[in-house]
Amino acid sequence: MIRPLHPPKTAVIVGASTGIGAALARKLAAQGYQLALVARRADLLHDVCAEINQHANQTQARPYTHDVLDFAGTPALLQQITADLGSLDLFIYNAGAMFPSHAEKYNADEDIAMLQVNAAGAMAWLSPVADRMVRAKRGQIVGIGSIAGDRGRRGAPGYNASKAALHTYLEGLRNRVSRFGVTVTTIKPGQVETDMLKNAEQVRGPISATRAADLIWSAIHSRKQIAYIPGKWGIISLVLTHIPSFVFRRLNL
């Protein structure tokens, strides 16, 4: 039921069963959003929805089980979700995969899988989402990229490339839709305490998923174009991206 003077704010999070996605879901629920949560693992997803709905004492989050590699099924699911929500104000693509990697490992299957989840899956979702937001002349698309996408490192070429692809795709999308009143926000987290962190080569002062969600929400709310989470990674990235290639390839980074 939608009241014309107070229509509910609505958001979709793809990749919402654990980590940053689940933390963002809780954050948006606290901000009063009606949520559609999408994830592959049904049991974890239902737990997140149940927790939110119990806290809100009403249906505020609805679960949709979906694998982002099911590209063909994405448009129909988007249509079902928007019909259930009645609108779509905010879309967050948070699905991501990272396999353990190091400088001596060559595994094309894993690299391709990461590219599919982190970049191709985003394209499958964001293309129809951008189309409808342009028609609505409003809305916000958020892609959870990574600091790792700013530079190709010897330890993780596949993961770096998948996030770089996502960043560039989001940039192109932003340039395409911003003139129609649609915002595209690229989030580049540094290390966050999630399941993914177990696969990281080195751990450098991670922040909690809840803290990350707070910072991401404030970037979304202020309609930032690109935001590093936390902000210090912006400075680190600035330095890293300015190291010339002939120096960078000799460093142990």
């Binding site: 939608i2 249509q79 019909a83 259930d84 409808r132 609505a136």
Partner: protein, 482 residues
């Protein structure tokens, strides 16, 4: 899956709310059937829309299918001897008057704008400034054909399928789709009317004068300066119109023509009317509207008891004079609170409403008062009494207070045995609607809904917001209401 190329933004006319809908505009009955099939196959609902002149969410079906009947625009039959007119639902009031005026006919009932489609007009059973004499538009329907969501065509008149006839008209598009409508037009003997203006000192004066003049006049419209307080609460002016008697106009052919009726494109011969809203915009704020309302009241005093002549178009279609004027209310848009209160309670009720607006510090920018008589339809807003329609500017700052105030106004209206009108609504609650319509009426509507639209296919944002009980699905129905 639905084709996302049909996704279009559709707005409430008051611009307070908009949503994406899968819009289809068939031009034939078969085309409507195909849209029904599409909806059933996809488990989606179908909302009906004409020109989209309803102030609130009555012609929006967010993220579902919207059947826009604006391409069914044929005039199927016109008999200038009897005044019987048969049209498709997408024909507008404007199309009709232009078609028939040369033969000396006019619509028996017209609203303040000429743009609604006949299908939409009957879905809402709209009325004009002569409601107390001519009733609602539905009272002039001789017969109609409706397409049901089952694909079946139903022919109706006051004699044939009377139960459905009196329910379909005014039931805001949840029972079926009008596919052809036969109406009785009204003879007129000139394209002009006698108009007189009377200044009214306060609300009591306005209502008394309307009551005294209603027997001897053909159209009545009162206007209130909502910024006036105390003794002057409800001050304003009253416009009274009389039609010409046969033979009174020495040269009726001249005035009974489209050329005579159409207002000039330019004001004072130079300023195009189409750009005026850009200037009016600067007056759409509390100070500007206070000055405008005062100026209007003073004009009423100046013209007090003066007589004049006006064309049917300029006397009737007051809302069309400044094209795009609603855009002056952007970005927030406007809502209209129209309440219908029986004559014996009208003074007390409207007085309390105007006073409440002052208490909240949110006086209406435009307020119009009209006189009514009851009508025979199932879903009815009419009373033997008056209506007062208040236009409120919606802003980001006042949104919350406005909703609170309007809910308060609704309580006042119910206390005075008043009613409401779906064409204007954006703010009512289900309990308010069930109070004024009564449980018996709602049960009848629910029974008709499950009989004629068993799959619950026809829904809109408004019907889901105000009539949740009619959308409760039976266990074997496939369409889910959300």
């Amino acid at each position: 899956m639905l084709n996302s190329n049909h996704l279009e933004l559709s707005s409430a006319w008051g611009l307070t709310y908009q949503a994406l809908n899968y819009v289809h505009r068939p031009s034939t009955v078969e085309g409507i059937r195909q849209v029904f099939t599409l909806a059933k196959e996809n488990g989606r609902t179908v909302g009906l829309r004409g020109s989209g002149r309803s102030y609130g969410d009555a012609a929006v079906n967010a993220e579902q299918i919207l059947l826009e009947l604006t391409r069914m625009t044929r005039i199927l039959d016109w008999n200038p001897e009897t005044g019987k007119l048969t049209v498709e639902p997408g024909v507008t009031i404007r199309d009709i008057w232009r078609y028939i005026i040369g033969d000396g006919w006019w619509l028996p009932v017209v609203p303040g704008t000429a743009f609604p489609t006949i299908g939409g007009a009957l879905g809402m059973n709209l009325h004009g400034k002569n409601q107390y004499k001519a009733g609602t538009l539905g009272e002039h329907v001789l017969e109609f054909t409706a397409l049901l969501s089952t694909g079946e065509l139903l022919h109706c008149s006051p004699e044939k399928n009377p139960e459905f006839f009196y329910a379909m008209i005014g039931s805001f598009g949840v029972l079926g789709v009008f596919t052809s409508i036969t109406l009785q037009m009204k003879r007129i003997y000139s394209g002009q009317m006698h108009i007189s203006t009377h200044a009214t000192a306060n609300l009591q004066d306005l209502l008394n004068t309307m009551e005294q003049r209603k027997a001897s006049s053909d159209y009545l419209i009162g206007w209130i300066d909502c910024f006036a307080k105390g003794q002057a609460l409800g001050r304003g002016q009253l416009q009274i119109a009389h039609e010409f008697t046969p033979g009174e106009d020495p040269n009726p052919q001249r005035t009974l023509s489209v050329q005579f009726q159409e207002p000039p494109e330019e004001l004072f011969g130079i300023v195009p009317r189409s750009i005026l809203w850009r200037f009016i915009k600067y007056f759409v704020n509390p100070l500007g509207m206070r000055l405008t309302s005062l100026g209007n009241y003073l004009m009423g005093l100046l013209k007090n008891d003066k007589q004049g002549l006006e064309s049917y178009v300029s006397a009737n279609f007051l809302l069309d004079y400044f094209p795009r004027w609603k855009e002056t209310y952007l970005p927030g848009g406007l809502i209209q609170h129209q309440s219908f209160i029986p004559a014996e309670h009208a003074y007390a009720g409207f007085r309390e409403i105007l006073q409440t607006c002052h208490d909240y510090g949110l006086p209406a920018y435009l307020a119009v008062v009209k006189r009514y008589r009851p009508d025979p339809f199932l879903i009815s807003y009419s009373v033997d009494g008056f209506s007062m329609a208040l236009d409120f500017h919606v802003t980001r700052r006042n949104r919350q207070r406005l909703q609170e105030m309007v809910a308060h106004l609704d309580e006042i209206v119910l206390k005075h045995h008043g009613r409401f009108y779906m064409a204007k609504d954006a703010t009512l609650y289900p309990h308010t609607v069930s109070t004024f319509l009564g449980e018996t009426t709602l049960a009848q509507l629910t029974a008709l809904k499950s009989k004629y639209d068993p799959q619950n296919l026809l829904q809109t944002n408004l019907s889901r917001r105000l009539f949740p009980q009619i959308h409760i699905t039976t266990p074997n129905a496939q369409i889910e209401s959300n």
